[in-house]
C-alpha cells in the first residue's frame, strides 16, 4: 500500500474503480462544494477536484478537496503545471498531505488563453509557469513519497504519501505516440491513470492493445474516461472541437433521433436527450470495463453531478466497496 487511500484500496481489491468529478465554483461560498460532495458521496470511490479547469479562477483544488473530505467524500486533488513552480507545488503537496489528502492527479492544465473556451473573460494575459511538465511532476511526487526528498535534494522529515495519478489522452494526436506518452508517465511513477473521454470504443481498444503489449496495464491502474453526454449538440461539439475526443456518427445520430422524437417541445427534447445520454453512458461504461487492461472508470457528469447516482446504479457498480477503518 502506497498511501492507503480509498481509491488505492479499491484498485488493490481488484474491483472496478469508479471516480467522478467535482468542479469547484467561481465563488468564495463553500456550500456548492459541500452540496456536490453530498450528492457524489457513496456513488464513487473518489472524486477529482479540478484545479481551475478551463483556466478560470475557482476555489483552489486543495481547499475544495478538504471541504469534500470533511463531508466524507474522498478527493483526488488535481494539480496543474500551469500556475505553480516546483517550489509552490511541493509546498502545496506538503500542505495538502498535512490536511489529509491522499490522491493527486498531475496535469499540464489548460492554457491560460482557454478562458472556458471563450465563454468567460478568464485571464488570457496571465503569465504561465510550466517550470515542470506532467511527467516531471509525477516524478517529484514519487521522489517525495518514496525517497523522502524534495526535487532539489533536501530531506523531508515526514514524506507526503500520495497515490499518484496522471491523465492520458489515448486518442489524441499524434496517435501513434500516445502509448509512449503513457509509458513515460508510468515510468515516472503514475500509480493510476484517468483517460480523456472515450466514445470511439474501437479506437480506444486498439490503443489499449498496444498498452497491453507494452505491459503498462500491469504497472498502472487505467481508469477509462466517460463524459456523460447531454445532447446531440454537445456530442457534435466534442467531436469537432475537443482535442483527443472523437465521437462515432452512430452515437450522434442516436442523440439526434432522441431530440427529433420530441418534435417542437424543447423541454421534452432536453429530457429525451438526457435519457438517451444516460443510456449511452451506461453502455460506454460496460464497453470500457470489458476492455482488457482497464481497472475502472472516471465518470465526468459536467455540471450534472446528480446524474452519477443513477448511472452507477444502472451500470451495476453500486454499492461501492467499503473497507474497515484502520
Amino acid at each position: 500500500m502506497k498511501c492507503g487511500s480509498n481509491l488505492e484500496k479499491v484498485i488493490l481489491s481488484g474491483q472496478p474503480a469508479v471516480t467522478a468529478e467535482l468542479g469547484p465554483p467561481m465563488s468564495a461560498d463553500p456550500h456548492e462544494v459541500i452540496k456536490k460532495a453530498q450528492i457524489l458521496k457513496g456513488f464513487c470511490d473518489a472524486a477529482n477536484i479540478t484545479d481551475c479547469q478551463t483556466a478560470v479562477v475557482r476555489i483552489s483544488s486543495i481547499a475544495a478537496a478538504v471541504l469534500a473530505l470533511r463531508e466524507g467524500l474522498e478527493p483526488v486533488m488535481q494539480m496543474t503545471c500551469r500556475d505553480r513552480n516546483r517550489i509552490a507545488m511541493q509546498a502545496d503537496l506538503l500542505g495538502a498531505a498535512a490536511l489529509g489528502l491522499k490522491n493527486c492527479l498531475c496535469l499540464a492544465g489548460d492554457h491560460q488563453k482557454f478562458s472556458a473556451a471563450g465563454r468567460l473573460k478568464g485571464h488570457p494575459g496571465a503569465k504561465n509557469v510550466y517550470d515542470v511538465d506532467t511527467c516531471q511532476l509525477v516524478g517529484i511526487l514519487k521522489k517525495m513519497r518514496d525517497e523522502g526528498l524534495q526535487e532539489g535534494g533536501d530531506k523531508l522529515e515526514v514524506a507526503p504519501k500520495y497515490f499518484i495519478g496522471a491523465s492520458w489522452t489515448p486518442m489524441g494526436d499524434p496517435l501513434d505516440f500516445r502509448p509512449m506518452n503513457l509509458m513515460k508517465k508510468v515510468n515516472s511513477g503514475a500509480d493510476f491513470i484517468q483517460t480523456q473521454g472515450i466514445y470511439d470504443i474501437e479506437l480506444f481498444r486498439s490503443q489499449m492493445e498496444k498498452i497491453r503489449n507494452m505491459g503498462l496495464h500491469e504497472r498502472t491502474a487505467i481508469l477509462g474516461g466517460i463524459i456523460v453526454p447531454k445532447s446531440a449538440m454537445m456530442l457534435k461539439y466534442m467531436d469537432s472541437s475537443v482535442a483527443g475526443v472523437s465521437v462515432p456518427k452512430a452515437l450522434i445520430d442516436r442523440m439526434a433521433k432522441a431530440k427529433a422524437a420530441a418534435g417542437e417541445d424543447k423541454k421534452k427534447a432536453k429530457e429525451l436527450q438526457e435519457q438517451e445520454g444516460l443510456k449511452i453512458t451506461v453502455e460506454l461504461i460496460h464497453q470500457v470495463l470489458e476492455t482488457p487492461g482497464v481497472k475502472g472508470v472516471h465518470i465526468q457528469a459536467i455540471e450534472w453531478e446528480t446524474a452519477i447516482e443513477g448511472i452507477v446504479k444502472a451500470a451495476g457498480l453500486y454499492p461501492r466497496p467499503t473497507f474497515p477503518v484502520e
Binding site: 499540464a108 516531471q136 516524478g139 489524441g172 509512449m180 509509458m183
Partner: protein
C-alpha cells in the same frame, strides 16, 4: 535574428510629445530585415512625428539617423557627438540597442520605438516565426531540431499535452503543435525511440530565471588587456 514590430504611432507620440529635438535612431541589422527599425522605418517614423507635431501645434524638430548595429560601441561612436545634441532619442533598435545606448547618453533619455518580439526566421517575405527562446541550455539534439521550449505553448519537455487536434495547438488552430512536429520529424529521422527517455526537471537558471546573464571569454579579454597596456 531578432524580430521586432513598430510600436503604434500614438504610443510613440506619447513618449516624445514634450520634447523639442527628437532623433529617431535606426539600426540596420536584424530590425531592418523585419521592416521594424532600419533607416527606412526611422525615416518614416520621423516624418509621421513631424506631421503630428505640426497638427498639434508643437514646436518640435525631428530628424533621423541610423548605424549598422546598436549592440557594439564602435558602430555608433562616430555619431555620438551628433546624437548627444538631441533632447530625446527614439531608438528603433531592439531592446539590446535601447539599453546599450541608454548607458551612454547621460541625461538624454533613450526610448523604444519598437517592441522586441522574438528570435525568429523569415519563413517567407513578411512572415517571421519564433524558433528559439534563447534559454541558454539547448536540447534540440533530443527533439529533432524543433524547440519545445518556445514552440510548445506550455514548454513541455516530455511529449504533447492532451490539447493537440489535427496537429494544431489548443491555443489556436493556426499554431502548429510543436510535439506533433517533433514526433513526425523523429519518425522521419528514425529516432523516435529517443523520446522514450523522461527528461528530468530542467535547470532554468541559464535562462532568464537565474538573473541577468553575462558571458566573458577570458582569453579574448586577456589579449585585449595586453594590447591596451602596449598602446
Amino acid at each position: 535574428m531578432i524580430v521586432g514590430t513598430q510600436k503604434p504611432i500614438d504610443e510613440i507620440w506619447s513618449m516624445v510629445r514634450d520634447s523639442k529635438r527628437v532623433l529617431v535612431f535606426g539600426c540596420n541589422t536584424c530590425v531592418a530585415i523585419c521592416h521594424a527599425g532600419g533607416e527606412k522605418e526611422a525615416e518614416t517614423i520621423a516624418t509621421l512625428l513631424r506631421m503630428r507635431a505640426s497638427q498639434e501645434g508643437k514646436d518640435m524638430e525631428v530628424n533621423y539617423l541610423s548605424v549598422m548595429r546598436h549592440c557594439e560601441p564602435e558602430y555608433f561612436e562616430p555619431v555620438m557627438d551628433e546624437v548627444k545634441t538631441y533632447d530625446l532619442i527614439l531608438s528603433t533598435a531592439c531592446g539590446v540597442g535601447v539599453n546599450f545606448l541608454a548607458d551612454r547618453t547621460g541625461t538624454i533619455p533613450v526610448y523604444p520605438g519598437i517592441n522586441t518580439s522574438f528570435y525568429g526566421a523569415v519563413q517567407q517575405p513578411g512572415d517571421f516565426t519564433e524558433l528559439c527562446g534563447g534559454c541558454g541550455n539547448c536540447i534540440l539534439h533530443l527533439t529533432g531540431g524543433i524547440c519545445p521550449i518556445v514552440r510548445c505553448s506550455k514548454s513541455l519537455m516530455n511529449g504533447p499535452c492532451g490539447g493537440t487536434k489535427n496537429g494544431k495547438c489548443e491555443v489556436s488552430d493556426e499554431v502548429d503543435c510543436a510535439w506533433f512536429l517533433i514526433v513526425e520529424r523523429m519518425k522521419q529521422l528514425g529516432t523516435l525511440e529517443k523520446l522514450a527517455e523522461v527528461l528530468p526537471p530542467r535547470n532554468w537558471s541559464p535562462s532568464t530565471h537565474g538573473g541577468p546573464r553575462r558571458i566573458v571569454i577570458e582569453h579574448l579579454r586577456e589579449i585585449e588587456q595586453q594590447e591596451e597596456k602596449k598602446g
